[in-house]
Every structure is written in structure tokens, then in C-alpha cells.
């Protein structure tokens, strides 16, 4: 029942218990992952054998390769960062263009295009992956057969991973930026134009500053979604695996606490990103 109506004692107790259980369910796996990054044992499993930083700092000589010495993991973190940067740049750029297109212009087929733009969100990630894989390899074969061209970027690898992730993250960026552009008061632009500003100056000094929170927000979300993506990436990955794929491979072999260490690192990175966004959101004019 809502807060303005009488709530019997048992209902209040049940609500509190339910919320407690729910929050435990939400946070227990994360807390466990974090705690076992510091357990002095070769496997992330109980019992607790004391505190150690080996899983961060350890080197091969100590028999434990910590996160900061694990070149494969560090390399895959870097791969993920590079991929995420590309996906973010492409998604925000295309999302901004789409937002202006859908909010400011009328053209034949606009309705169909707006539905088509949402479609990537309802296609399972695995299928996005295999369709792009099949299509790009067909193009590569065609280029090879017709022109004798060897188009390496169409073979499984990072360019395809970027394309696969971008194919649906662009939709999310488009929705976020469109939502803000829709609320924009166009009389501000008209006033500036009447006062003699050029179109470029209006965009630079009025429209883009207004859009900035949505641009930053969509960039952060795009980066995060790219960094976390697994389903689409798995189908398109080549020799250089991003972090999620590397972690998945290691988890199938049997986890070592270094995975907990890298997970804790990811949690901290996400938390910093989230806090920065919240701060930025508070300062931004609405």
C-alpha cells in the first residue's frame, strides 16, 4: 500500500525483509567477487586463508601471476578500450546526425526509417554477430574473386567487432540524443539567427552546448555497452580478444583469483565513470 494509507505492522516488516533479501541478492555476487580477489589461495573459493595482494602484484617468480603482470589480460583490457573508443566515437557521431535528421527534417520514408532505427535493439546480439560475419565474408570473397583484393578488415577481427557493436549501440545513442534535441526550444536558434549569427555559429554556441549533457551521457553509455558486450563480440572476434571474451575463456578453464582482481578493477572503473556522470549531470543546465 502507498505511504499515505495505513500499513499494518506485518506489511511493513514483510516489505523490509523483502527489500533486504533483494539487495542481498543484488550485491552478494559482486561483494564475493571483490573479497576473493584478496584471498591467499590458488582458487577463488572458501575458506579464507588470509589477505594477499598477489593477485594484483604477483609475478611469475612467486608462482602467481597478478593482474599487473598478466600481459594477456592487460592486452585484452587495452583491446577493449580501443574497440570501445571507436564504437563510442562512431555511435555518438551517427547518433547526433540521426537526431537532427529525425527531429528537424521531413522526407519521404521517414516513418519507416524511424522504425528501422529501433530494429537493432530487438535483434538478439548473437544474430547481429553471425549476420555481419556472414555478410562481410561474402563481400570479402567477392572482392577477392572479382578484383583479386584481399580485404583483411572483413575477416573476423577488431574492425568487425567495432561494426557489430556499433550496429546496435548507434540506436541507443540516437534515442538518447534525440530525446534531448526534442525538448530544445527552437526560438533560441531563431533569435540568434535574427541577430545575425551564421548557422555554424548557432550550432556551435547554442545547439551543441544545449546537447552536451546528452552527448556526454550517450558517450559514457556507448563506451560501457561496448566494453561489456559479449554476445556480438564472440561471433566476430579474431586473434585479439577483448576483455569479456578473454575472461569467458579463462572462466571455462577454471577461474583463478586474477579474474577477481580484474573484476574488481572493472567495478572501480565503472563506479568512477558513474560518479563522474552524476556530477556532470548535476552541473549541466537543463
Amino acid at each position: 500500500m502507498i505511504s499515505s494509507l495505513p500499513r499494518p505492522f506485518w506489511l511493513r516488516t514483510a516489505t523490509a525483509l523483502y527489500l533486504g533479501a533483494f539487495l542481498l541478492f543484488l550485491f552478494l555476487p559482486l561483494v564475493i567477487v571483490a573479497v576473493f580477489a584478496f584471498n591467499n589461495a590458488p582458487y577463488p573459493a572458501p575458506p579464507w586463508r588470509g589477505f594477499t595482494l598477489d593477485w594484483f602484484l604477483g609475478n611469475a617468480a612467486a608462482g602467481r601471476v597478478g593482474l599487473f603482470r598478466d600481459t594477456e589480460l592487460l592486452g585484452s583490457i587495452w583491446t577493449s578500450v580501443v574497440v570501445a573508443c571507436w564504437v563510442t566515437a562512431l555511435s555518438v557521431a551517427v547518433g547526433t546526425a540521426n537526431a537532427f535528421l529525425m527531429e528537424r527534417y521531413r522526407f519521404p520514408g521517414k516513418q519507416a526509417l524511424s522504425v528501422l532505427m529501433l530494429i537493432p535493439l530487438v535483434i538478439p546480439g548473437v544474430i547481429l554477430g553471425i549476420s555481419i560475419l556472414a555478410f562481410s565474408s561474402r563481400i570479402a570473397e567477392l572482392a577477392d574473386a572479382l578484383f583479386g583484393l584481399d580485404l583483411d578488415f572483413l575477416r573476423p577481427g577488431l574492425p568487425l567487432v567495432v561494426a557489430g557493436q556499433f550496429s546496435y549501440i548507434a540506436t541507443i545513442a540516437t534515442l538518447m540524443i534525440s530525446a534531448r534535441l526534442k525538448r530544445f526550444d527552437r526560438t533560441l536558434e531563431e533569435a540568434a539567427l535574427n541577430l545575425g549569427a551564421s548557422h555554424a555559429a548557432v550550432l556551435r554556441t547554442i545547439t551543441f552546448p544545449y546537447l552536451q549533457p546528452a552527448l556526454i551521457g550517450s558517450a559514457a553509455i556507448s563506451f560501457l555497452m561496448s566494453f561489456e558486450n559479449f554476445n556480438t563480440t564472440l561471433m566476430l572476434v579474431g586473434a585479439d580478444a577483448p576483455l569479456t571474451v578473454t575472461m569467458y575463456g579463462r572462466m571455462r578453464e577454471g577461474a583463478s583469483p586474477v579474474l577477481n582482481a580484474v573484476s574488481l578493477f572493472l567495478m572501480l572503473a565503472s563506479a568512477i565513470l558513474a560518479l563522474a556522470l552524476m556530477r556532470g549531470g548535476k552541473r549541466a543546465p537543463t
Binding site: M1, I2, S4, P46, L118, F135
Partner: protein, 298 residues
């Protein structure tokens, strides 16, 4: 006098067209090259059969295999049922939480609770699956706890059960249910509930006659998104279910990447896409909503 003005107008119209073309280009390239053409290609791939190296002919063999081979359609049905079950359970678990956030807690407590619900989803699904692995496997935290409490004499394996897969799927899906539920319950006027209460309705009647009809758009949006994500999930079922997971995306992966039988994999992909689309359409039909509105809400 009239001449330069109309010329200026014509030039403006032409400029506007040019800008429109520049704005259309990225959208068209994106959707054509990464969505439309790949799926047309995938459809063609699924509808051909290899009769000799590099020689193909149109055929329905792949789809026939799916219906003839019991393993394939059983896994398909199983994936669909488990996804539906996970969606329903996610709704049941998330609804009270969304209710507390919007109607019971106030001000800061409500905002804090909402943020707490969002936090786990800032962390990669891989990390969350790792957490469940450490908690549930035979040498893990919960089996050890059960032994300590004297509930089981020896550690039991809690991984690799259907229930484990369901827990993992619900866990990954909660956010996508809580957010649309909260946004649809927020717009429900408390006065309606108070009025119903004053007129003698009990909690159940209020829920059925007022709350659920009002929250229907949010419920539909949440269910559609959760079902779709669950159906297409690969990571959680394979890690938490192990060899017993029997998830349809796993079959697609095996055909495509392991066996290199792209024709069969493409057919499986289309069957999954068909199921996903059918469920989305059904959800929309049942709640009488438009696709565009639902996606905006989600």
C-alpha cells in the same frame, strides 16, 4: 527585386537538401550495411544447400533438419519456455521493488533505492557470472555455508541446474524490468489508490483494477525486453548451466564457429529471430501498444 529573392530562396532550399542528404547518409549506410543487407544475406544463406565444393542450390534442408532432429527443436522449445519463465519470475521479483521505490519510499530513500538497483548493471555480465560461479559451485561459498549450518553433510553442487540458469538470467534481467516499471508506476496518481481504498477496495482489487491496468505499458515494455535478452543470452546459460545448459544460442555458435556449417547456423539464427519477433509482436498485440512507443519507454 523579386528575382534575387526567389533565387535566394531556391538557394536556401537547395542548401537544405544538401544538409538533409549529408544527415541521411550515415543512417542509411549504418542500417543498410550492418542491419538490412546482412540479414538478407543470412536468409539466403539459410535457404541454400551445398552439393559440391563451391556449388550450392536453393533448398529447405536446413529447416527440415531442425524439425527432424529432435535435439534441435527440443533445445529450441526449452530455450523459449525457460526464457518465458525467467521473464515471469523477473516481473514478480521486480514489481514489489518498483512499487516500494515509487509509492512507499519517499525522497532520498526512494532515489537511493533506485540507484542501488542500477549499480550491479554497471558491471559486466562476465563479472556477475563469476560471482555466481564462486557462490554456487561445489567448492564455493554457499555449499560450504550449508555444510557449516548442518543442512547438508557434504558440499553439494549448486551449479549446472535449470534453477541456477534461471537465477542467473533473472539476475541479469532485473534492471530491464525495474526501470520501465518504475517509470510507469511513477505516473500513477496516489489519489486514485486512496479513493479506491476509501470506497472499500482491498489491496488485491486495487492491484487488479487500478495498478496493473495503469502499469500495463511498463509491464509490456519490461517483459518484451527481458524475454528478448534472455532468449539471446549466451554467456549466463553456458557458464552457469555448463554442459546441461542446452541453450539455443549455443547451437548457433557451435554450427557457425565450431563446425563451420554456416547454412545450418543461419537457419537456426532465423528461427531464433522468428521466435523473438513473434513474442514481441504478441506482447504488443496483447497490450495494444505500438512498437515505437514501447522501445522509447524501455
Amino acid at each position: 527585386m523579386a528575382e534575387p529573392l526567389s533565387q535566394g530562396l531556391a538557394q536556401r532550399a537547395w542548401q537544405r537538401r544538401l544538409v538533409l542528404a549529408w544527415l541521411l547518409a550515415p543512417a542509411v549506410l549504418w542500417l543498410l550495411l550492418l542491419i538490412v543487407l546482412p540479414h538478407v544475406d543470412l536468409a539466403l544463406l539459410s535457404l541454400r544447400e551445398r552439393i559440391a565444393p563451391r556449388v550450392y542450390r536453393p533448398s529447405l534442408t536446413q529447416y527440415r533438419t531442425f524439425f527432424v532432429e529432435p535435439l534441435y527443436w527440443q533445445v529450441f522449445v526449452r530455450t523459449a519456455i525457460m526464457s518465458a519463465l525467467a521473464t515471469a519470475l523477473t516481473l514478480l521479483i521486480a514489481f514489489p521493488v518498483a512499487w516500494v521505490i515509487t509509492k512507499v519510499a519517499r525522497g532520498r530513500a526512494s532515489a537511493l533505492l533506485f540507484v542501488l538497483c542500477l549499480i550491479p548493471f554497471w558491471v559486466s555480465e562476465t563479472v556477475r557470472a563469476l560471482g555466481w560461479l564462486i557462490l554456487l559451485r561445489e567448492s564455493g561459498v554457499l555449499p560450504a555455508l550449508l555444510v557449516k549450518l548442518g543442512i547438508t553433510p557434504v558440499p553439494v553442487e549448486l551449479l549446472y541446474h535449470d534453477a541456477t540458469i534461471l537465477i542467473g538470467l533473472i539476475y541479469t534481467s532485473l534492471l530491464f524490468m525495474v526501470v520501465p516499471l518504475v517509470s510507469s508506476l511513477e505516473s500513477l496518481d496516489n489519489a486514485l489508490i486512496e479513493a479506491a481504498y476509501d470506497l472499500g477496495a482491498n489491496g488485491f482489487v486495487i492491484l487488479r483494477r487500478i495498478v496493473i491496468p495503469h502499469a500495463a505499458p511498463g509491464i509490456t515494455a519490461g517483459c518484451i525486453v527481458v524475454f528478448m535478452l534472455t532468449l539471446g543470452n549466451y554467456l549466463t546459460p553456458t557458464l552457469l548451466g555448463g554442459k546441461n545448459s542446452q541453450w539455443f544460442t549455443e547451437l548457433i555458435y557451435t554450427q557457425f564457429i565450431v563446425r563451420f556449417n554456416w547454412e545450418q547456423g543461419a537457419a537456426f539464427g532465423f528461427l531464433l529471430l522468428g521466435l523473438s519477433t513473434a513474442m514481441v509482436a504478441l506482447g504488443l498485440r496483447l497490450s495494444g501498444q505500438r512498437f515505437v512507443d514501447v522501445m522509447r519507454r524501455a
